[in-house]
């Protein structure tokens, strides 16, 4: 579920309307006033920040500055809506180049939200790593999505067919594959993936119910990037995925710096 921070001092109809529509579009909306403590308290990862500019808000320089810093650090897109004058005032604290989209009143709320939504989707796609989760149980898929989607873009496939379909059109950064799928089991899917040169280097991590030695041995033969036990705590699973990407990054840096040093030496 995508999360938006909605900063507004006005408690008027428009603010409420915006909030409601965002929620209808499946966003989790966190409303805050321009109060530094309130802003500080928001710990959730944000997909976007929407600022409703009015004269009261403009005077709250500190909290605006705080928000700006966070957006820069965490790469969160900022959107703003308000009167021309008010927008100008806020711009003195948050420069225009940091604001992705500005909406001047009077504004059609639906259009505004659609625009914001589209932007965020695309933004996410650009920034976050894509993970494809394959499992025949809808519940397991949803669980995985819930655990991972804060940090990653998660796509779900409940059968081999759908998995292949996805792979045909998209290149995920990681595939989490359920080993014990009934119809076309994980092993077979793995083989299919490795068979295609296009997908063969896509990293795959198995998810399995059993810690059975034989099974483990079998899995290892297929050379996955790793395997995770489904019985692990959700947080553990997320950490393992994070760890995988971290390691990958490190390797890339190492590799890069090696090549760099090669340059430098020249």
């Amino acid at each position: 579920m995508k999360t938006i921070l909605f900063m507004t001092e006005a408690n008027n109809y428009m603010s409420l309307s915006i909030k409601e529509r965002l929620e209808n579009a499946a966003y989790n909306v966190i409303t805050v006033a321009a109060d530094i403590d309130a802003v500080n308290q928001v710990k959730e990862p944000l997909d976007g920040i929407l600022i409703f500019a009015n004269d009261k808000l403009s005077s709250q320089q500190q909290s605006l500055a705080f928000l700006k810093d966070r957006a820069v650090m965490e790469d969160i897109p900022i959107f703003m809506v308000g009167d021309t004058e008010d927008i100008k005032t806020v711009n003195t604290i948050i420069p225009k180049n940091l604001i992705q989209q500005e909406f001047v009143r009077p504004v059609n709320v639906n259009n505004m939200l659609e625009s914001i939504d589209n932007f965020i989707r695309q933004y996410n796609i650009k920034l976050k790593k894509k993970i494809l989760v394959v499992d025949d149980s809808g519940t397991e898929l949803r669980k995985a999505k819930e655990w991972l989607e804060n940090k990653y873009n998660v796509f779900l496939a409940n059968s081999a067919a759908m998995a292949i379909k996805y792979l045909a059109l998209n290149r995920p950064d990681l595939v989490l594959l359920d080993y014990e799928m009934p119809l076309c089991n994980g092993q077979q899917i793995m083989e299919m993936i490795r068979a295609e040169t296009e997908f063969s280097d896509i990293p795959v991590i198995f998810l399995t119910n059993t810690g059975n030695k034989d099974v483990v041995m079998k899995i290892k033969e297929l050379k996955p990037e790793g395997y995770l036990l489904k019985s692990m705590e959700p947080s553990q699973i997320v950490k393992s995925v994070d760890a995988y990407f971290e390691k990958k990054k490190e390797n890339e840096i190492k590799h890069f710096s090696n090549s760099q040093s090669v340059f430098q030496r020249r």
Partner: protein, 890 residues
């Protein structure tokens, strides 16, 4: 010698003297004298004889010897005999008279006896009997009793009784009797009225009166007046029709007393009757007064209840809105004023209720163990704010030997302190208000003394006495501000007396007042407050901390709970619902007991608790609870917690509600802390296991509460589909397929915390893996039953109720289905979920309903292929329907 004075005899005697011896003459003379003495009339006879003898010149001797002497002797003898006879007669007469008098007296005695002992029913007959007895005793033919009545200033009489009983008691003036009887004879009237009785023969009466009596053959009459308290009341009369008999003087007095006895008995009877009548009238007047009083009390209670309901809305809603962040200052100030006015008004209503309850004797003390310092600080806190900006110093002194806990009615004691303190502050402009508490132990009672003193305007001595009566406020009109109604002291006094304590007021006008209350409390502990706590209280430190504690209310969300609120008043419903919103529960509202009962019967949704208004018009809360508990029959109905919402709460009602089948009660306006406690205790803590779902585990395995909720919905939506699939699969023998399902369901059940169900599916999976068809066939039905039992429990998570659904055009439905289709195709589960939710809120045309249910299941299972297939089918169907409709119109 008188004899000798008779002239003839002189002549005779002179003749005799010449021829007689002296002795003879003397003898004759004496004889004659004797005879004359005895027989007055007959004195002539011996004279005649002597004269005759003289005429005949018979010799004296012969006369004397032969005639005179014997004759004289005979005469004397006769006279003596006569005399004896007369004496006898006289004696007899006397004896008779005495006997008669004796009889009379006895009669009167008996009469008196009878009259003393009469039976109320028999009074009349007793009177008649007595009258008869008396009349007969004096040989009267008639006896009557008349009562005087002064109508139109004419004296007239009413005949009350007459003997013989040829007429019954007449209460009205009777024409044939005494009215004219005495009316026209002024004489008896006046005589009677002056206290004399009339006692005479008719023939001796004046002519005109005689006629009256003659016509009725009355010969003699006796009329005796009767006086009551020196006032003429009436008279008693006797008629004698057969002899002209008059009563002797001494008899008359007895007759008089006899008649008076009867008269007085009648009087007494009348008095008694009058008294009884008065008593009855008093009784009914008293009854009416009591009834009126009760009606008044009921009226007051009812009015107060009516007033509490809108007050509840005013206070509750203003409070809730004040708690919303983001209202501007002006609105907040106004809301605050509204809230405090509402609170004040409620306080007045409560005061009125208290007084009326105490006056009708319905107020009760409900003692319990309480924390003394807590009570004091609560009471003080409530009041220190009242000081506001006045230059008043507040002092609190508490005896450090005061026990830490006592047994008494904390609520009421706080009320008393509250009343006294608010008065002290109100009537003091500057200076000091002091509250002191001390303690003294005597045997098994602890006496708590509460003293409130101030340096206010004081009370004038003449007002001191009237201080505790209702509705009075002393002091200049400017003092009669917002706080208080003047009822305070009356309530206080009543409360103190209800607790068997004492209260008194001392004051010096212009300098200040002191109120002293002494209350007996029960001892429960030896532990005392101690010097530290006493000092803390003195500095109001303890209280400040507690206050902070109370302010922060952290509400724990319970989104998986379902709650039913029952209240006939829609505003109240909203207020209660708003109070519960922060908990995130699903809240359903109904406006009648019947609706609640129906919901419990149908079990469409399983609720974790019911909040029920105590008093509703059609069927009140108590009755509804009774029916739910006793007539539905399911364990669910018997054990679901039902909490009473009442405007009428008074300490002590707790037992009443518990007895009537409620688990708890909460009074309006709702106290947030109490509500939090109730929700936590009766809903959250009990919900750790819903129908076998371990909520905590479920949240844990799911990873988050939000996901847990959403998974519950998915689980619900899949039940029908999966259960049918499994049952058909077994019937067709596709063991491998259903084993796959068991595997999945085993995991899913575990994820949502349904451990028992998960174990069942595990077992079935094993049977499936080992192809144990027999075991499958025997155990499957039970497992399916358990599986399906989750439907009513989880329904609210996966289903929107029909009533809440909206209608939509086919076009809109098609557009949504398309959206769903492409979302699933694009691996955009969020959009897909959102779209299926939207679809879930709409009415689906009948031909597509089954597919809709299936669609929900497919999306829950992230089954893209099936979703795409089904949406395709549904869209086709809808297009067909649209075309048919259009055709229909044409």
């Amino acid at each position: 010698m008188s004899v000798l004075s008779v002239p003839g005899l002189r002549t005779v005697s002179s003749t005799f003297f010449t021829n007689m011896k002296l002795v003879h003459i003397m003898f004759i003379g004496v004889m004659t004298e004797q005879v004359c003495k005895i027989q007055g009339i007959q004195q002539k006879i011996p004279l005649l004889l002597i004269l005759k003898a003289a005429e005949l010149r018979i010799g004296i001797r012969m006369i004397i010897n032969k005639i005179l002497l014997p004759v004289s002797a005979a005469i004397v003898a006769a006279a003596y005999w006569q005399d004896q006879q007369n004496r006898q007669k006289h004696k007899k007469k006397m004896i008779n008279a005495i006997k008669r008098r004796d009889d009379l007296l006895q009669t009167v005695n008996r009469m008196a006896d009878m009259l003393l002992r009469y039976d109320a029913d028999d009074f009349d007959s007793t009177v008649y009997q007595c009258m008869g007895m008396l009349a007969r005793a004096i040989h009267a033919d008639r006896m009557y009793l008349y009562k005087s009545c002064n109508e139109n200033e004419d004296d007239c009489f009413t005949k009350l009784y007459e003997w013989p009983e040829n007429t019954r008691l007449l209460s009205n003036n009777d024409s044939d009797s005494g009215m004219e009887y005495v009316e026209n004879t002024s004489k008896p009237n006046k005589t009677l009225m002056s206290g004399n009785s009339i006692h005479c023969l008719v023939c001796n009466m004046p002519k005109d009166d005689q006629e009256r009596y003659d016509s009725r053959h009355i010969l003699a009459v006796l009329l005796i007046p009767v006086f009551v308290h020196n006032k003429f009341w009436g008279y008693v009369g006797f008629d004698n029709c057969h002899s002209k008999q008059l009563f002797a003087k001494n008899e008359e007095s007895i007759v008089l007393s006899g008649s008076l006895i009867i008269a007085n008995a009648i009087l007494r009877y009348e008095y008694v009757n009058t008294l009884q009548d008065s008593a009855v009238k008093l009784e009914s007047a008293l009854e009416e007064a009591r009834k009126a009083n009760n009606e008044k009390s009921d009226f007051i209670a009812k009015i107060s209840h009516e007033m509490r309901t809108p007050l509840n809305a005013v206070i509750g809603l203003s409070e809730l809105t004040l708690n919303n962040a983001g209202i501007d200052e002006e609105a907040a100030t106004n809301l605050d004023k509204i809230n405090s006015s509402g609170t004040l008004l409620l306080r007045i209503v409560n005061d009125i209720l208290e007084i009326s309850k105490m006056k009708s004797g319905k107020a009760v003390i409900s003692p319990d163990r309480y924390d003394v310092s807590g009570m004091i600080s609560d009471a003080v806190l409530q009041n220190v704010l009242r000081i506001g900006s006045k230059p008043i110093r507040f002092e609190l002194n508490i005896d450090e030997n005061m026990p830490a806990y006592l047994f008494g009615d904390e609520l009421r004691i706080r009320q008393i302190i509250n009343n006294l303190l608010s008065n002290a502050i109100k009537y003091t402009e500057k200076g000091m208000v002091k509250l002191e508490l001390s303690y003294k132990n005597d045997e098994d009672n602890a006496w708590m003394t509460i003293t409130v003193s101030d340096t206010g305007i004081g009370i004038q001595p003449e007002n001191l006495e009237r201080l505790f009566t209702d509705y009075l406020q002393f002091g200049p009109a400017s003092q009669h501000q917002t706080d208080g109604t003047g009822l305070g002291l009356a309530v206080t006094k009543n409360l103190v007396e209800l607790m068997e304590g004492t209260i008194r007021a001392d004051s010096k006008y212009g300098e200040g007042s002191t109120f002293t209350v002494k209350l007996p409390q029960g001892v429960v502990t030896d532990k005392v407050i101690g010097p530290d706590a006493a000092l803390n209280l003195k500095n109001l430190k303890y209280s400040a901390d507690r206050r902070k504690q109370k302010e922060r209310l952290e509400r724990i969300r319970i989104p998986y709970a379902n709650v039913l609120i029952v209240d006939d008043n829609s505003i109240n419903l909203k207020v209660v619902k708003d109070h519960m919103k922060p908990y995130g529960m699903r809240i359903d509202c109904v406006t009648s007991g019947q609706a609640a009962i129906a919901a419990m019967r149908e079990e469409k949704i399983r609720y974790q608790a019911i909040f029920m208004d105590h008093m509703m018009p059609e069927m009140d809360g108590v009755e509804a609870v009774r029916i739910i508990r006793e007539e539905i029959g399911t364990d669910y109905a018997k054990t679901i917690p039902i909490i009473a919402l009442t405007a009428n709460a008074v300490a002590g009602s707790e037992e009443m509600f518990l007895q009537k089948g409620f688990q708890a009660f909460i009074s309006k306006p709702i106290n947030l802390t109490k509500l939090d406690y109730i929700i936590n205790h009766w809903i959250r803590d009990k919900m750790l296991l819903i129908n076998g779902i371990d909520v905590q585990k479920g949240i844990h395995y799911s990873g988050s509460e939000a996901l847990f909720i959403s998974l519950l919905g998915d689980f619900y939506n899949l039940i029908d589909l999966k259960a049918a699939k499994i049952e058909n699969g077994l019937a067709e023998g596709s063991i491998r397929d259903i084993t796959i399902e068991f595997h999945a369901l085993k995991n899913t059940a575990k994820t949502i915390g349904a451990e028992k169900l998960s174990e069942m599916f595990t077992r079935l999976e094993q049977y499936g893996n080992t192809n144990n068809i027999k075991a499958l066939e025997s155990e499957l039905p039970e497992v399916m039953k358990e599986y399906r039992s989750f439907k009513p429990v989880l329904r609210p998570f996966g289903e929107v109720e029909e009533e809440e659904k909206e209608t939509a055009s086919e076009t809109r439905l098609i557009s949504l289905l398309n959206k769903l289709r492409s979302a699933m195709g694009n691996f955009d589960l969020d959009s897909a979920d959102q779209t299926i939710k939207q679809l879930g809120r709409l009415h689906i045309p009948e031909p597509c309903q089954q597919q809709m249910e299936a669609l929900k299941a497919y999306v829950a299972d992230v089954d893209t292929e099936e979703t795409i297939r089904t949406t395709g089918e549904m869209i086709t169907k809808l297009i067909e329907l649209t075309i048919e409709e259009k055709r229909g119109h044409e």
